[in-house]
């Protein structure tokens, strides 16, 4: 059923991505590929992997942007994946019922056995979250690692999406954004987490945390000049005296 669920639980599982901390190492994208190449959405086909035009399905892509110019300019690494929107048009445009949003936790999934590969859902997503698998003839997307987060065969601390588990700088957090008391909701509140392209009105669940303000150049200069001056050296003879006289000229 591609109509959105009428009865929704309070749970809104999603990711919070800290753009201040991300170093653009692509580990999240690689671990995502590794896990999902063997998970529910497997295989994530790669075509011509060693040839001239390698391309394949990835659920997570890390872009790098420059924002602003001069002293206030920043280089920002920007991981992009499915935002598990509250108003996912990718679901409602699906003609077959293959795309659906789970009522219990808000995760947006594709049932590959129903998908006809018309690609309309990828057109309907402003964020480029869905990628077509040429080999399987169906659409694929981030599952929020549904086969990890509820997997009782894994240790409790491993029940997070692969991208979160692997991030070496802890730039990615996973949790329930529907619970205002959760760690991720607190993070969003404290750091001013925001939606991507709010004008599209898809109401993404995932939030991005902005880069922290830079300590500006004036502050840095003041800190340097506030250091106490060195004690003058007096009356030393020999080699040290020679060096002192040399440096004093």
């Amino acid at each position: 059923m591609t109509s959105l669920p009428q009865q929704r639980g309070d749970k809104r599982l999603g990711l919070v991505i800290d753009l201040d901390v991300c170093v653009g190492c692509h580990a999240c994208a690689v671990n995502c590929k590794e896990w999902n190449a063997g998970g529910v959405a497997a295989p994530l086909t790669d075509l011509d992997p060693y040839g001239k035009d390698p391309h394949g399905v990835w659920f997570n892509r890390v872009h790098t942007f420059e924002a602003g110019t001069g002293a206030s300019g920043r280089t920002v690494h920007f991981p992009r994946s499915c935002l598990h929107c509250e108003e996912p048009a990718c679901v409602t445009v699906c003609p077959t019922g293959a795309s659906y949003k789970r009522a219990e936790d808000g995760i947006v999934l594709v049932n590959e056995d129903l998908c006809i590969g018309c690609k309309l859902c990828s057109w309907a997503c402003p964020y480029g979250a869905r990628e077509y698998d040429d080999d399987a003839g169906v659409m694929k997307k981030c599952t929020l690692c549904i086969d990890r987060i509820y997997n009782e065969n894994l240790r409790a601390e491993e029940r997070v999406p692969a991208c979160v588990a692997t991030c070496p700088t802890s730039a990615r957090s996973f949790g329930d954004l529907g619970d205002p008391q959760s760690a991720v909701s607190t993070l969003v509140r404290e750091r001013g987490g925001y939606d991507l392209m709010p004008e599209m009105e898809y109401r993404p669940t995932n939030k991005y945390l902005p880069p922290r303000p830079r300590r500006d150049a004036a502050d840095a200069g003041a800190a340097a000049s506030a250091a106490p001056p060195l004690e003058p050296v007096s009356g030393a003879g020999g080699l040290l005296g020679f060096i002192d006289r040399l440096l004093s000229d």
Partner: protein
């Protein structure tokens, strides 16, 4: 957006077929259809043939055409599903209308009633097709008020040209087909010019700044793409056409799709006889090439917001 040949052929051909079917229904309702069996058979074959060829063509771009029947299930939320249902439902009044016209005659009550129903279903199907594009917010050049009238007007225009061709070809006294086609051409051209004017000047809400949320720091530029070769997103959504080529193709679409068919159909209306049949045949051929060009441009000029993540700005082409 990538201009997929199967979808361009589908929307053009089925649009012309539904246009012809729609006009036949209107003429039937007015009691103007001639009770000429070969003419009736040819008209119904042409209308339903174009529709069917278009629908079959549309399944060619699917990853799993054998599952296409599943697309009929989600009509509550999906315009694509509604289009599928509407296109199949249209066959019922269309076949009933064809049977009533061919077996009985075109002026009886069965032909009139089923004709009106066929026209309504044909209009509804074209509206559903247009709304597939109209409803996509990430493609601002599709998500605007011009798209549905454009699709309807172009279907009506190509349908009217086919009707004029049939009337001239079978030397049937079908009234006002040339005037109808000429008027439809003028209306469709005004709609298309309005659409182009709109997409060239529209202010677009989404920018690289809103896509990344980094606008507070200043202008946002792509420094490094996530991958070195084009992925599915760039192949499907990142299609780009140079502005100078777009301008040339627009001129080609206007000349072949509208101006030349108008001159030819006016000639047919004035000349009559064999010359009329030849002129309306040329008008149909020219219009179809022109509208295929127009439809190719409709895709090629449409930009998707995902390209904002790949260093592009909407509304700009080089």
């Amino acid at each position: 957006m990538h201009p997929a040949l199967s979808v361009i052929v589908f929307t053009t051909l089925s649009g012309a077929g539904y246009g012809l079917l729609g006009w036949l229904g209107v003429y039937a309702a007015a009691g103007l259809l001639p009770p000429d069996r070969p003419f009736a058979i040819a008209a119904m074959l042409l209308a339903l043939g174009a529709v069917t060829a278009g629908l079959l063509s549309s399944t060619l771009h699917l990853g799993h055409p054998e599952r296409a029947w599943r697309a009929l299930s989600q009509w509550r939320s999906s315009w694509l599903s509604r289009e599928g249902v509407a296109s199949l439902v249209t066959y019922l009044p269309a076949l009933a209308f064809g049977a009533a016209w061919i077996l009985d005659d075109g002026t009886g009550a069965p032909a009139r009633i089923s004709g009106v129903l066929a026209t309504l279903c044909a209009v509804l199907t074209v509206v559903c097709t247009a709304y597939i594009y109209r409803s996509l917010k990430p493609v601002p050049r599709w998500c605007n008020a011009w798209v549905v009238p454009n699709y309807l007007a172009l279907a009506a225009m190509t349908g009217a040209l086919l009707l004029a061709l049939l009337a001239d070809g079978f030397a049937q006294p079908l009234p006002a087909t040339h005037v109808l086609a000429a008027a439809a051409i003028v209306i469709a051209l005004m709609g298309k010019l309005g659409y182009w004017r709109f997409i060239d000047s529209a202010r677009l809400a989404s920018t690289p700044e809103s896509a990344t949320g980094l606008g507070g720091l200043g202008a946002v530029r792509l420094f490094e793409a996530p991958h070195t070769s084009d992925n599915y997103l760039m192949k499907e959504m990142g299609f780009r056409i140079a502005r100078k080529h777009a301008r040339k193709l627009r001129i080609l679409a206007v000349v072949l799709g509208f101006v030349l068919p108008f001159v030819l159909i006016a000639t047919a209306g004035i000349a009559g006889g064999v010359i009329a049949a030849a002129a309306s045949l040329l008008a149909v051929a020219s219009a179809l090439i022109g509208i295929l060009t127009e439809r190719w441009l409709f895709f090629a000029e449409a930009q998707h917001t995902v390209t904002l993540y790949y260093g592009r700005r909407l509304g700009m082409e080089n």
